[in-house]
């Protein structure tokens, strides 16, 4: 067992623990912090799978952007002093049954497939430069479309969340 394996198992364990905190805890703020830990662990797993660009992107966008946005949302939509930061749960039995059955089906199909036949590291080239070149040559159309999508969602989110009272028809 090399040091990389130990770090990988550490990341897997921390992400599973964070997800369990998200499920079992009733506080929304703790759930958001659990999601943060889970995302950082996933970023570490990406780095160990030699997807460095994706790891850095995950760390910057998810841990730095989305989680801050969600924590702002929690702060703005819940009264901090009261008990409203707690969330109740419903449909617990059916939810547990459905997700357990789904997990069982996926695990069964993994178990019956020889996925680890090529369990070796094929990618040893420098990925940062390759990702940049691919992004600017082969995948330039979805890149540009995603820029337009980001602009549209920026304007839409700002207009939706803004609080000016004027009606559209008057």
């Amino acid at each position: 067992m090399t040091i990389e394996d130990i770090i990988l198992y550490l990341f897997i364990g921390s992400s599973v623990a964070a997800v369990l905190v998200m499920i079992l805890n009733r506080n929304i703020f703790y759930a958001a912090l659990g999601l943060l830990v889970c995302l950082i662990s996933l970023s570490g797993i990406y780095a160990l799978l030699q997807a460095e660009f994706l790891a850095v992107t995950q760390l910057l966008i998810y841990a730095g952007g989305v989680l801050v946005l969600i924590i702002f949302g929690i702060m703005l939509t819940n009264r901090i002093s009261g008990k409203s930061l707690q969330t109740d749960s419903h449909n617990s039995f059916m939810g547990i049954v459905f997700s357990s059955v789904f997990f069982g089906v996926i695990s069964y199909s993994f178990f019956n497939t020889e996925l680890s036949a090529v369990d070796k590291n094929l990618n040893t080239v420098n990925h940062m430069t390759t990702v940049g070149k691919e992004l600017m040559s082969t995948y330039v159309a979805p890149f540009e479309v995603s820029g337009v999508l980001l602009l549209v969602c920026l304007i839409g989110a700002a207009l939706t969340a803004s609080s000016f009272k004027k009606n559209l028809n008057g």
Partner: protein
Amino acid sequence: MAKIDLLFYLGAFLFCSGLLIVFTKKNAIMILLGIELMLNAANLNLVLFNSQKTGLEGQLFALFVIIVAVCEAAVGIAIILKTYHYYHTSVPDQISELKEKP
């Protein structure tokens, strides 16, 4: 068990946990967190399958999935904020009227 298999099981676990959170939690922000978790599980699977071959299609697809997830989170939080200002609750079950009360 090889470590790549363990990572596949981790992806399945993350997806099913996101599904469980979306099913069971009442608050709208918790539902959004569950959706983020499911998108991350899909990303983990994409990166895993990409690590089994040469080429970068999986990583780049995961990158675009992250971009779309960011858009979804921003618009979702904006809608939740607007709904909270209007109805003073962020629990979707308690919102039963489309129009303002007279």
